[in-house]
Symmetry: C2
DNA sequence: TAGATTGTTAATCGATTAACAATC
DNA sequence: TAGATTGTTAATCGATTAACAATC
């Protein structure tokens, strides 16, 4: 089911065509829902059934998926296991991405102790901080080094992602240092938008306080509605 | 500057008109940039100057702001302090929102220890967990109670927001319980999309692994580009 | 006043939804 | 085969950008 379409699908994929961020934002969500279906033992699903579960539309799901290829089969729908795997590949989850965390505070601790990321293929291999009291200690078996050791570490280890969990004022400086050392992707939790001239560097900004303010806006709006 | 327009602006505001989520998502960002300008001592700014700083367009900024009123002045631009305050009000930051955290794990610890949220008007007033070893202990002076005490606590204290930082499998059940106890807004970190029939309940889902997968997609895409 | 910049309308662009022929 | 459901084109909707008269 769908296997034969795979080759066809893959051939159709044109990674150079720009795919909208709106679509990309939805991919992890598809992945999650398909994972849930998989663990429930569901074998196949139609775009319509999935749209009901996801509070979306069948049209949107088919459009989104067809950006990457034809993963379904007329009259049948989509094979859950196959589609889950394919979206995983699109998201790069078939590869391991080594991660370091810069700034060994509470958020870093939360990330390193949360096994979900490791299971998805994003193991934390080291943490860095400026606080000398932390040097040599470990959290969840992951060592904390001095920021001064960053360069050497990056030389000797493959680092795919650097998570930045440090105060706003140090974030830009540290991010620039990371990029100058060859880091190509940054998962930024500092409350500042990072941007780089280098087109090769990708950044994902996570602003928890922005999220909280959005919630607050919606609370406020509800109160003012009749 | 702009003061006179204020009354006019406020009168124009129609909270019942639906404002798009795209606009709302940008509000905290405006608030942040204006806050930075404020602390830099900048007094006025034009939509064009701001658009350069924010990597946006002057048109979009003016359109966004005019959803809520006319905050600027022709020939002058926007008064930074005034606009910052006004956006703060729109976001509900002029009020205090008491927050509880359900699930006293590492992420909860990170939130409660991060003073930024308190400064924005979102103090954590209590935490709850199922682990009896934690009952009666405190983190950052905030007490941890048993989940069984939730009902009584909510009766005796004003709780505006409940942050959910617990495993996926307990999240839905706990969220339903919270809503049944009268909680109207949930900041959800569990890896599941929460939804409620009750229109009054607002939810903000924060999916860190979705964010990480988005980053991963962009890494993968870069590699495949020529 | 002249210059600058807003608020706002109109034009464009892109994303979502609808429809349906293709096909399993 | 008949029924179901995709892949894909066309229509619609909404969001962004451009333009400009209003006005400080």
């Amino acid at each position: 089911m769908g296997r034969i379409k795979l080759t066809y699908g893959i051939e159709r994929v044109n990674m150079n065509e720009q795919i909208s961020q709106a679509v990309i934002r939805r991919l992890p969500r598809y992945y999650r829902y398909l994972g849930d279906l998989l663990s429930q033992g569901v074998e196949r699903i139609s775009s319509n059934e999935l749209s009901v579960k996801m509070n979306s539309t069948a049209s949107q799901i088919r459009q989104d998926l067809n950006n990457f290829g034809g993963f379904g089969q007329q009259g049948y729908g989509y094979n859950v296991k196959f589609l889950h795997e394919e979206i995983g590949k699109i998201l790069g989850l078939d590869k391991v991405h080594n991660m370091i965390i810069v700034g060994a505070g509470n958020l870093a601790k939360a990330i390193v102790r949360y096994d979900k990321f490791e299971r998805l293929g994003f193991p934390v291999i080291a943490m860095f901080d400026v606080d000398s009291k932390l040097f040599g200690t470990k959290i969840n078996d992951i060592p904390i080094y001095s920021l001064d050791e960053l360069e050497e570490f990056i030389k000797n280890n493959r680092v795919d992602i650097a998570a930045l969990t440090l105060p706003k004022n140090n974030a830009v400086k540290t991010a620039n240092k990371l990029v100058s050392l060859g880091i190509k992707s940054i998962w930024n939790f500092a409350h500042v938008d990072l941007q780089f001239d280098d087109e090769d560097v990708v950044v994902e900004n996570v602003h928890l306080s922005d999220s909280l303010m959005q919630l607050s806006y919606n609370i406020t709006r509800k109160c003012n509605d009749e």
